[in-house]
Each structure stands twice: as C-alpha cells, then as structure tokens.
C-alpha cells in the first residue's frame, strides 16, 4: 500500500481516484494543491464536484464508457473541460481517465493537468498571427497604391500617348515598368503569404488535363528560361491525364518552383519537370535543376521566418526565397507534402505530393520533350 501511495506522489499530475459510484477514494498532494483542498476533505466527496457544471455530463459519460470496457486492455479517455477548485475558481483542465482494478473493485484514475496557461499562450499566438497577417495586408495596400501610379504612368507613356519617344526615353521607361512589375509581384506574394497564414486560402477543385497545365506552366516560364538559355525538359507519366484538384493553385506552385529553378540555374543548364501518379489518389510533381549548389544550412533558412539569409545570393539573383516558402505553404494547405533535396555539386530537387482524384488514366503516351 505504501508503494501505491508513493507512486501517486511521484506523478507530476494531480491524481484523483474515484470508485464505481463516483466517490473520491484517494488523491495525491498535487491534487490537494490544484483543487485548493485537503485529502481528508476530498475523500468521500462526489468526484463531479471537482468539475464545473457544463463538463459533468461529459465526464459521467466517459466514466460509464470506461467501466463498460474495463476489461479491454488500454481503455482510457481524455477530456478537456473546466475544473473547479474548492474556492470556486475554475481552470481549463486536461483529464486522462483510466480504469484500475483493486481489492475494493473497479476504480477510475483521473490524472488532471491545469492547461489554462497553455490555452492562454495558444490564444495569444493565434492573435499575434492574425495581427501579423493584417499588418502584411495593410502594408501591401500601402505599397501597392503608389506602385499603381508608377506602373500606370510608365505604361501610358510607353504607348506613345504623349508623343514619340526617343530610344533612351523608351529604355528608361521600360526599366521603370520592369522594376515596378517586379515589386508588384513581390507585394502580391507577401499578400498571398498573409492569406495562407491567416488560413483563408480558398480552394476550387476542378477536373483538368495535366498535359495542358504543364504546357501552360512551361510557356509562362519560357521567356525567362530562353533568356538564360535554360532548357525545361518535361515528362508526364504515360497514360496519366485528367485529375481533379485546384488547377490555379497547382499552376501557381509550378510557376514559383520553375521561376526559382531558373533563377538559381547558371546559363545553359537544364531543368527537369516530371509528373507521375503516387498510388491512385495522389500526384507526385518533381522539379530538379542542375544549378547553383545550395548548402543545407541555406536550405533550412529558406523555410524559416525570413527566407533568404545569404545576402550575396540576393544580390546575384534578386530573389527573396518567397517563391519556395509560398510553394510549400500552398501545397501543405491542401494536405500535401513538400520536400527539398540538395546534392553538393548536383543541384536541388523539389518534390511535392498532392492528394487528388485521378479521374482518368488514358491510353495515350506521355509527353517528353525539351522546351
């Protein structure tokens, strides 16, 4: 019996043991402290007096279920409800219930933990995430408004609406427009990140042809690729064609990954894009490049709060790493998985697995051709 007592005292949680009739038969000193009471006052009391009214029915139901299944190995229940101290104060508790067979019959062991601090932290974390998203949203709007003027006026002048332009004027205006568009893309990515983090990513599943999607993604990245003499080789698994998932989101992810791959490839290299089925309910997309080697520490950095740590890389490629952060978040937002591999001297590979409905596997051969 002493061992039994010592065991209870050694537990980090408050332990309350109740009999089949719901009366308290034993407590440890952690329970005395948590419920602001003493062992002698607690023993013999109905155990439900330690719970605030709304949780009592739920507790009774869990106890009944455990008693019914007490012979089944591993029977237990976990409840999150408000507990009641003897001084009348309530606190959020996590309660683990398990049956215990002793000489006096079947008892219920309740391990009680105060989780109000954890709940408060979760709430405050949630609030600060929301505030951050709102801040990003407002900032993007503030940045976008003057950009509207910059891009709009540059385009207007470039159309020759206010007279013919000489070569130098045209070149300068094109630079203004180009810079403006780059900034705009960055701002819309920050907005997108705010949306993803706020959990308001809207998904629209539709059935479409993978072949068409791959062509569209490659032609969008095609111009940048041509300028750097980077070839995009694409490969669609034979027979795989129609799938059902959010087409625009997948296109966006492919665009981010291809843009990133082109950005980090040196001139004349190759990029590969392959799409295969992963089982019968998921799609596996793999993009690998033979570009600049990324150290693993740098890759780790890509996914932390401020993505691209290497200042020299920013200077060389003008990137922020937002492409990859967004691609990963969008994939994970659809319950998919996203992996990065990097081999020194070989380049990097990005793999994403997206759950989807594979609508048809046609008999037609897959496509495999360089851009």
């Amino acid at each position: 019996m002493q061992i039994y007592r010592d065991l209870l005292e050694a537990m980090p949680d408050a332990i309350v043991v109740g009999d089949a009739a719901g009366r308290i038969v034993q407590v440890n000193s952690q329970a005395e402290r948590l419920f602001a009471s003493s062992r002698s006052a607690l023993i013999g009391e109905p155990i439900e007096q330690l719970l605030s009214e709304p949780g009592r029915a739920q507790h009774a139901e869990a106890v009944a279920r455990i008693l019914a299944h007490r012979r089944v190995q591993g029977t237990h229940a976990t409840l999150e409800l408000n507990a009641l101290r003897r001084d009348g104060r309530e606190f959020a508790a996590r309660i683990n219930l398990a049956p215990l067979e002793i000489e006096m019959g079947t008892c219920i062991v309740c391990a009680v933990r105060d989780v109000s601090e954890r709940q408060r932290l979760q709430q405050s974390l949630h609030n600060s995430r929301r505030l951050k998203s709102e801040f990003f949203g407002h900032m993007s709007h503030e940045l976008g408004t003057p950009l509207n003027g910059i891009i709009g006026f540059a385009e207007f002048l470039l159309e020759g609406k206010s007279g013919t332009l000489n070569e130098q004027q045209r070149e300068c205006l094109e630079d203004i427009l180009g810079s403006g568009r780059r900034l705009l893309r960055l701002i819309s990515q920050i907005m997108e990140l705010a949306r993803v983090e706020a959990g308001t990513l809207e998904l629209n599943a539709q059935t479409f042809s993978l072949r068409g999607l791959i062509e569209e993604a490659c032609s969008a990245a095609g111009l940048t690729a041509q300028n750097k003499r980077v070839a995009i080789h694409r490969n669609l698994a034979p027979g795989l064609d129609a799938v059902t998932l959010d087409r625009e989101r997948l296109l966006q992810v492919l665009d981010y990954l291809l843009t990133n791959a082109i950005k980090f490839s040196s001139e004349g290299r190759e990029i590969h894009l392959s799409v295969t089925a992963q089982g019968d309910a998921a799609l596996c997309v793999r993009i690998w490049d033979s570009g600049t080697v990324k150290r693993s520490a740098e890759l780790e950095q890509l996914f932390t709060s401020y993505p691209q740590a290497d200042v020299s890389a920013i200077r060389r490629f003008g990137g922020t790493g937002l492409d990859l952060v967004l691609a990963r978040r969008i994939v994970e937002g659809q319950n998919g998985a996203f992996f990065i591999e990097s081999e020194p001297g070989q380049g990097s590979a990005f793999t994403l697995i997206l759950p989807c409905v594979i609508t048809s596997i046609s008999a037609a051969a897959g496509l495999s051709a360089p851009l």
């Binding site: 949203g137 408004t145 207007f156």
Partner: protein, 134 residues
C-alpha cells in the same frame, strides 16, 4: 471606344495621383468620368444623376467601398444602379468574399492598365437610351 460604347462613368478614388492616372487612361479611350473622393460622395452623385459604371477604390475616408456598395444595393435595384467595379491595390484576406457579398459586380487589381480596363468596359451594359439613338 467611347463612341461605340458610350458610358457614363463615376470614379471614386481618394488618391490624387491615381485620379490623374485613371482620368488619363479613360480619357485616352474617349471617356470623361466624374470623380468623387469617398463613399458618401458616391451616394450623393448617384442621387443626382444616373451612371452606367461606378469604378471605386476600396479604401477611402468617410465611407469605404464595401459600405458604399451595400448602401447602393439597398437604395437601387440591379436595373437602376450602375455596374459596380472595385479597383484596389491589394485585397486583404477575406475582402474578395466581402466585396461579392456586398454586391460588387467585378474586382480589378491595380495597376489599372489599359488592357484589363478595356476588357472591363466591354462587359458594361450600353444604356438603352444611347442604344436607341444609334
């Protein structure tokens, strides 16, 4: 374009530079829009005369675009009110939904470039009076 598609346009925008730009681009297409600076002024203008198109910023002082849209939809039915197009620099999470629920017909992202603006104008209904005159 204005000859083929005569539209009475009201622009609600509080940023002076953006007003200048939209006047320039629409002017080039042959339109002379009326300009107001917030939602309250939009309602006053609509009570004064009928418009075919309201091109409105979301974030404006006094009354923002979403609130203005709600007021317009309460006061005029779909036949009487102008087509409502929101032109904004960035959409906050959930703003897209809010706009459509309020009764906005179309959302356009700034910068307001010539091509998307032209496409948007093509979607506008030519007023019946102007149609029968031709």
């Amino acid at each position: 374009m204005a000859q083929r598609l005569p539209l009475r346009i009201l622009v609600a925008e509080d940023n002076a530079i953006n007003v200048k730009l939209i006047k320039l681009v629409l002017g080039d297409l042959g339109y002379r829009p009326d300009i107001v600076g917030n939602g309250v002024e939009v309602l006053a203008a609509l009570r004064r005369q009928a418009y075919d198109l309201l091109l409105m910023d979301l974030h404006m002082p006094e009354m923002d675009g979403i609130e203005a849209t709600r007021c317009i939809c309460r006061e005029w039915n779909k036949e009487q009110r102008p087509r409502i197009v929101v032109l904004t620099a960035a959409l906050m999470p959930q703003e897209h939904r809010l706009c459509l629920d309020a009764g906005v017909d179309e959302l356009l992202l700034k910068p307001a470039l010539r091509a998307p603006l032209q496409q948007m104008l093509e979607r506008c209904r030519v007023p019946a009076a102007a149609q029968s005159n031709r």
